[in-house]
Symmetry: none
Subunit: 135 residues, 4 copies
Amino acid sequence: MMPLAAARAALDATLAAARAAPIAAIVLDAGGHPVAFARQDGASLFRHDIARAKALGAIGMGQDSAEIADRAARNPAFFTSVAVATGGALALSAGGVLIRSAGGQILGAIGVSGDTPDIDATCAQAGVAAFHGDR
Amino acid sequence: MMPLAAARAALDATLAAARAAPIAAIVLDAGGHPVAFARQDGASLFRHDIARAKALGAIGMGQDSAEIADRAARNPAFFTSVAVATGGALALSAGGVLIRSAGGQILGAIGVSGDTPDIDATCAQAGVAAFHGDR
Amino acid sequence: MMPLAAARAALDATLAAARAAPIAAIVLDAGGHPVAFARQDGASLFRHDIARAKALGAIGMGQDSAEIADRAARNPAFFTSVAVATGGALALSAGGVLIRSAGGQILGAIGVSGDTPDIDATCAQAGVAAFHGDR
Amino acid sequence: MMPLAAARAALDATLAAARAAPIAAIVLDAGGHPVAFARQDGASLFRHDIARAKALGAIGMGQDSAEIADRAARNPAFFTSVAVATGGALALSAGGVLIRSAGGQILGAIGVSGDTPDIDATCAQAGVAAFHGDR
């Protein structure tokens, strides 16, 4: 379960971790459905769709989008075909980070877009930490 | 322009106006792009897509979704064709309310789904009032 | 959670309840994702997509597809717009039945297509009963 | 023809061949339409779409998805264009295996996703063997 209060705490910590560039961030539940979203002033229009596809791709493949992007760099044709087969549910770049329970179960994911992939992922990880109360 | 701070104030007021049923609410900018979204605990999965389509339909047609729904009740074939032609960007039910400037310019819209159309629209109107500082 | 063993028990009971006409039946988890599916010999080709859309619509709207169909009969334009807005995730006919926990939480849904809507729904209900061990 | 009983025997043998990682497996008929599907506990959400696209791609191109993936590695632009042209009906990775009659006619295909491509293909081949009664 992904309660709105926890998703919002995660979203706020994600946004607070943004640096120079404005970002968009989304929190999805375990089924890949949106719970909370925000786009900072100045973030460009595709940021919503990219953030969502990073987070949804992480849930769909069962690993962070940074790892998926590494695999895609070695096998681009397959991951392009997955992107198409899933209707664009996958963005092949860091910034989609799974939220797991203590037992390893996927509870949801945070997706970020707007800065470099590395900074996007750092922001999302700040959100995951806030979700777990590690503030 | 739809600053995130104003969109969030509108979103929070919208959520606070919810009654018995949990809702999902979204704030779109003048281009129809998401700025802020939240889904309350227990709201069913399509609420995101329906809230978004109510708000986007309002911006796309230039009137609140309640008025669009009234027109659609008299002319369903046309509005169904618009729904298909726009790729599902329109939900024919109250709950999508335009945010306008003092001069009448469309600044964005709020979309709500989860309760009856009338209550959804009341929640969205509370959000518009908060946007304008009429609290 | 929707374990495969429980989904299969539900699916088999659903299929066993079919009468004259061959059916297709699907079990979805709480996020609307397929866990188990079977199409009986002679069931026509759209049965998969219709069964899935009945079950997914039930999860997405939070009520059985028979109730959704009743509402759609009174308000067809809105439900057509929802079908389009959700990318065809909704089939407006009986045969999609929610699976709920004792506490009322949605655990998934069963969707059936192939016979009349009433018989489809009866088959799905047999599957829900099997899921709960009410055999 | 792909009778449900034979498809289920193939599906069960496919699932039984899974090793460390949970898989999803699907059996399609000669027209590319689903007959039977199951997702093992813990398999991530995209496994359905990927398994289906592996099997459908095999039927659509007339060869196992491992061979298609080999061709795609040498000519990625063409196979990406096929994935788009067919609306995502193709996954460029091993794990989609044709089921042929003694005379070479395509009767259907099995698609598997969840483990490495090689193991996915081994699982699917176990399913094909079971279909032919070579148990």
